[in-house]
C-alpha cells in the first residue's frame, strides 16, 4: 500500500488544506472514499491484487471497547508496590514431560527468517530471553542465530515444511502446528522474489528470486482424525518431551478448539484478524476471519465444556498493544498472549526518524506496510544487507525487552486494582463493555447494565 491508504479525514485532497475542504463544499463518499478510489486505480493500472503486510486495518470491536471494574466495597485491591501479583505461566503440561515455564505471559509470535532479517530475528530472541519469555520461528526453518539467542524457542510446523528438519525439531522447546493465521485463515505463505536471497532460498530449497507461494494445506494430513495421528508422530519423535501447540486463525474457533483438544494439543494458539502477516492479499487480510475479541470467548467456551480450561493453555494474538490488552485477553480466559506487529514496532518498525525514506517509498511513518517489498528503511522486514545492517540486534533487543516489561507491569497494575494476586486470576466478571457489539462478542455486560446480548438479561 502507498500513502493512499491514509484514512480519509487525516488527509486533504492534493493541494487543498484540510480546513478548506468544508469551505469548498467538497463531500467525500463514504462508499467510494479516497483509499477505495486509489485501490480501484491501482488495480486498473496493474491488473494484480494488492499485496501488503500487517493485519486488518479496518476498525473492528476490540479490547478498547472493554473496561475493568476495579476493586470497590465488595472487592479488595492489592497494594501496588508491596503485594505480589505473579505473572508466570506454564505452557504444555497436559502431555509433554518438558513444559515451558515463562516469567511473563507475553510471548513473541511466529515470524520467519526470510520475512524478517537475521538481525531482526536475533533481536526478537534477545528481547524475549531477557524477560524470560518465548519466541517463535516461522515459515522457513530455524536459524542458528535464532536458536542461539532464544532461551525458549517455539518451532513452527507449517504446510510448506520449508527448512523442516528433525534435528531442529528436537532442539525446539515447543512445536507449534500451524493450521492458519488470523490475517489469512485458509491462506498459505507468500514471500516475493525480492526477499528470496541465496540464504533464504537455500533454507527453503527454492530457486533464488522466485515469488514463493506456499501451500495452505498440510501435505500429509487432512482433518482432525489425521491431526491426532500427526501429533502422535511428533510426540514419538521427540519422546513425549516437547509441548505441542496448535495454532488457528480465528474463523470457527469454537469447533477448531474442540477438535484441537480432541487431537491431543497441549496448547491452543488463537490468532484474530488483526494479527499481522508479512505478505498477503489486502482483500484477504480485510475480509476473512473474525476479530480477536469475538473469538476468545468461543475458544474458552470450548475448553470449559471439555473440562480442559487452564489444562490445555490458550495463547491469544492479534492486536495486543498494551498491558491493558494483555489483562483483558487474560480476563476473558487466555493463559498467555503473543505479539508480532507490536514487537516489530518496539524493534524500530515505522520509526519517524525514517520519515524521508518512507516518503520516497510512497508511504509514511505509521502507515508503512509494504513488508513484501523487502525495502524496509528500518532494516526489519528486509533481506537487503545494507538495510538489515541498520538494525542493531542488541539495542533493538533491549527495546523489545523494555516494551515486554512495560506490558507485564501494566497488566499487573490492572490485576492488582482488581484484587488479583496472579494475572491468571483475572476473570470476565472484572470486565464490562462500552458497546453492544463488544458486549455481545466478549460476553461481558454492557457497562451500567446486566445485559449481555444473546446471553442474559435485557436492555
Amino acid at each position: 500500500m502507498t500513502i493512499t491508504s491514509v484514512p480519509a479525514p487525516a488527509q486533504a485532497p492534493a493541494g487543498i488544506a484540510a480546513s478548506d475542504i468544508a469551505a469548498l463544499g467538497l463531500r467525500e463518499s463514504a462508499t467510494f472514499d479516497r483509499a477505495t478510489i486509489a485501490d480501484i486505480q491501482r488495480a486498473a493500472a496493474t491488473g494484480v491484487y494488492d499485496i501488503r503486510g500487517w493485519g486488518a486495518k479496518r476498525k473492528v470491536p476490540h479490547f478498547d471497547d472493554l473496561l475493568f471494574l476495579g476493586a470497590s466495597m465488595s472487592r479488595y485491591p492489592l497494594e501496588g508496590y508491596r503485594e505480589k501479583c505473579d505473572t508466570d505461566v506454564v505452557l504444555g503440561d497436559r502431555h509433554a514431560s518438558r513444559p515451558l515455564h515463562l516469567a511473563t505471559p507475553v510471548t513473541i509470535a511466529g515470524m520467519s527468517f526470510g520475512a524478517l532479517s537475521a538481525n531482526a530475528k536475533e533481536a526478537l530472541g534477545r528481547g524475549a530471553s531477557e524477560v524470560g519469555t518465548s519466541t517463535t520461528t516461522g515459515d522457513g526453518g530455524m536459524t542458528p542465530e535464532e536458536r542461539g539467542q532464544s532461551k525458549h524457542l517455539v518451532y513452527q510446523y507449517l504446510p510448506s515444511r520449508y527448512g523442516m528438519n528433525p534435528d531442529d525439531l528436537r532442539k525446539a522447546d515447543a512445536i507449534e502446528i500451524v493450521l492458519g493465521q488470523g490475517a489469512k485463515p485458509g491462506g498459505g505463505g507468500m514471500l516475493l522474489g525480492q526477499k528470496i536471497t541465496e540464504r533464504v532460498a537455500g533454507m527453503r530449497t527454492l530457486p533464488v528470486g522466485i515469488d514463493q507461494r506456499s501451500a495452505s494445506r498440510h501435505p500429509d494430513w487432512t482433518g482432525p482424525d489425521d491431526l491426532e495421528i500427526k501429533i502422535g508422530e511428533l510426540r514419538e519423535i521427540t519422546d513425549w518431551k516437547t509441548p505441542i501447540y496448535v495454532k488457528v486463525g480465528a474463523s470457527r474457533p469454537y469447533y477448531d478448539t474442540a477438535l484441537a483438544v480432541k487431537s491431543g494439543a497441549d496448547v491452543v494458539v488463537l490468532d484474530g484478524m488483526q494479527g499481522g502477516t508479512a505478505a498477503t492479499q489486502q482483500v484477504f487480510i480485510e475480509n476473512v476471519g473474525i476479530p480477536t475479541l469475538a473469538a476468545i470467548p468461543q475458544v474458552v467456551q470450548a475448553l470449559q465444556e471439555l473440562g480442559v480450561h487452564r489444562k490445555v493453555q490458550l495463547i491469544v494474538s492479534g492486536g495486543i498493544r498494551t498491558g491493558a490488552d494483555v489483562a483483558k485477553a487474560m480476563a476473558l480466559g487466555a493463559d498467555a498472549v503473543a505479539i508480532g506487529t507490536a514487537a516489530l514496532i518496539a524493534l524500530g518498525d515505522n520509526d519517524p526518524r525514517y520519515a524521508a525514506e518512507y516518503a520516497e517509498l510512497g508511504s509514511a511513518a505509521g502507515f508503512y506496510d509494504d513488508f513484501q517489498d523487502g525495502r524496509d528503511p528500518a532494516g526489519i522486514t528486509t533481506q537487503d544487507p545494507s538495510l538489515a545492517s541498520r538494525l542493531d540486534p542488541v539495542a533493538a533487543g533491549k527495546r523489545l525487552a523494555n516494551y515486554l516489561r512495560v506490558l507485564t507491569m501494566e497488566a499487573q497494575t490492572i490485576a492488582r486494582a482488581c484484587g488479583k494476586s496472579h494475572l491468571h486470576n483475572l476473570e470476565p466478571e472484572d470486565l464490562v463493555a462500552l458497546t453492544i457489539e463488544a458486549s455481545a462478542m466478549a460476553r461481558v455486560p454492557l457497562a451500567g447494565t446486566s445485559w449481555i446480548p444473546g446471553v442474559q438479561g435485557s436492555f
Binding site: 530457486p207 515469488d211 507461494r213 501435505p219 500429509d220 495421528i229 514419538e236 519422546d239
Partner: protein, 242 residues
Amino acid sequence: MVTLTAPESLETAATAEAPTKVDLADAPVRGLNQDLHHAVDGQSWTVANPGGKHSLAVGITADVTVTIDGHAGYYAAGMHQKGTVTVDGNAGVGLAENIMSGTVHVKGDASQSAAATGHGGLVVIDGNAGARCGISMKGVDIVVGGNIGHMSAFMAQAGRLVVCGDAGDALGDSIYEARIYVKGTVASLGADCIEKPLREEHLAELAELLEAAGRTDNPADFRRYGSARNLYHFHVDNSTAY
C-alpha cells in the same frame, strides 16, 4: 603379545548382535521408538505384528536396520535419518514423510503422501503409491515400481521421482526444480509441468536410481517431466493458470 583372532570368530563378532526382536502384539510402539532413538550404528531390529500401527520407527538418527514384518500405519519411518527401514507389507499415509537421509523400502503398496516433503535419502515402493506421492519433495529420491495417484509431486521443489508404472492426474502441479521420470502413461500434467527431453545425464541418473532400488527397467523407456518455470513470478497474464 598380540592375540590373533581366527577369521571365524571375527565373523561371529560382526554378526554377534542378532536383530532385536520386538513383537508389537504385546509391546507398545513407544518402547520401540524410544529404543531406536538410543540406538548406535550397526544395530538392527525386526518388528513382528505391526498390525498397521502408526508412527512405527519414526525419528531414527543412527545407521540401523529395521525390518517391519507386516503392514504399517501412518507415518512409518517418519523424518528418517540414516539407516534402513523395510516394510514387508503395505504402508499407510505419509510413509517416510520429511525423510532426510537413509533408505526406506516398502515391499507392498504405499498410501497417499508417500515421502512427502522429503529432504534427502531414498524411498522405494515396490507396489503402487496413492495420491500426492512426493508432495512438496525437497531433495528425496523416490522410486515406485507400480503406479502413482493424482496430484503427485505437487509443488515438488527438488529431488527425483521415478515411476515404473502410470501416473495419475495433475502430475507435478506447480513443480519447482524436482525431476520426474515416468515409464507408463501420465493421465494429465498439472499447472506449469511439461515433458522435457531425456538427455544422457538423465539416462545416467535414472540408471543409478533404478539400480539403487534394485530394479531392472530400461532407462530409455522413461519420459522426463519438469517445470516450465512460467509460474515462478506473479504475472497478470498467468492469472488463469492458478
